[in-house]
Amino acid sequence: MGLSPPEAAGLNPPPPAPGPQSLRDLFFAFNRLSMQGFGGVLPVAQRVLVEQLGWMDRAGFVQLMSLGQVLPGPNIVNMAVIYGDRCMGWRGSLAALSGLMLAPLAIVLVLAWIMRLGGTSAHLSGALRGMAVVSAGLIISIAIKSWPTLRRNVMGMPMCIAIAGTVVALVGVLRLPLAYVLLSLGPIAWGIARWKLRP
């Protein structure tokens, strides 16, 4: 990575706070990050949950993301449901999930309805394309911000670089389906980590 870690820029996240105090807290936190999530919620989720609220640290966020990614279904939905459950049981899940989904669902359906009545234009599709490019950059930035957490990884930095690099080569360059790569490389990575952790 050419960029120096974010710590150097004095952007250390706040120390972990106690987390949400009520179902309301959970609902509004997920509502807030979802409503800011144009072209994908993950980058904003990282910013809000780690950097603004301090409910988890960077490594905790990567762990939650790994779970969300490995389990079937939309990643951010899995993350909301799992985090909500961890904090406050099934009610917490429901609060986080509805915070995440309800308002954006209403907005996107109203937009779809308006577009159906009014049709589309070249300007609009240009704007959509521009937003897609920025959201790609936002997603890459979470990868870069999460990178320093690998320094404490039991597999060691060279192995982490090899694994992450293989994923980028297979998915980013060769364009293999994410699911295949996850199902083949995941168990290998698990095996290596399990070997390093042996008592």
Partner: protein, 192 residues
């Protein structure tokens, strides 16, 4: 008045007025597809295209990709594209069937799996999962971002814009909303 009434009726159907049989077909197929959505909802787009455009013929190509683009650009999780596709095909009933089909079974499964894992948090097997998956997840994120730039990569503005976004996100606390706004503006001007 009549126009308003017509617009409201329009909410309950899309290109089709879906029957109960259509709705349950939608629910079941999208539920099955959601189990394949390992690594992100967006990976199911090709399969949904095959069903909704190819097999059922409810939307044409342009309507389908327009639905996905709209959901990508609007706030909220990417999975909302499922609701938009089904809304355009079959109105609010379609959106409800498709979204519950996509979310309900996988959410319950994830909840169960996470609880199971939480109880075994200190076991070596689970610790190995946490440690082993971290570089895989980070590699996936980088690749997903790269793949998303594909449609615009031939435009000269594309990579500088990605670079600027990454730099601002890593080095400043500026809200991502500003960058999305800038991206929309650049696209609107036809520069990308």
């Amino acid at each position: 008045m009549e126009a308003v009434a017509r617009a409201l009726v329009d909410l309950m159907s899309g290109t089709q007025a879906l029957s109960w049989a259509d709705l349950s077909q939608l629910f079941v197929h999208f539920a099955l597809l959601s189990f394949l959505a390992i690594g992100g909802a967006i990976t199911t787009v090709p399969d949904m295209h095959r069903l909704v455009v190819g097999e059922w013929g409810w939307l044409n190509d342009a309507q389908f990709s327009g639905s996905v683009a709209l959901a990508q650009a609007a706030p909220g999780p990417n999975v909302l594209f499922v609701a938009v596709i089904a809304f355009n095909a079959g109105g609010l009933p379609g959106a409800a069937a498709a979204l519950t089909g996509t979310l309900l079974p996988t959410t319950l499964l994830s909840l169960g799996a996470a609880r199971w894992g939480e109880q075994r948090r200190d076991t070596l097997g689970l610790q190995a999962f946490i440690q082993g998956m971290a570089p895989v997840t980070i590699g996936m994120l980088a690749s997903t971002g790269w793949v998303l730039t594909e449609p615009s990569r031939s435009e000269w503005m594309c990579l500088p814009l990605v670079g600027a976004t990454v730099w601002l996100m890593v080095r400043t606390r500026i809200s991502p909303l500003w960058m999305i706004g800038a991206g929309a503006l650049i696209g609107l001007m036809g520069w990308i």
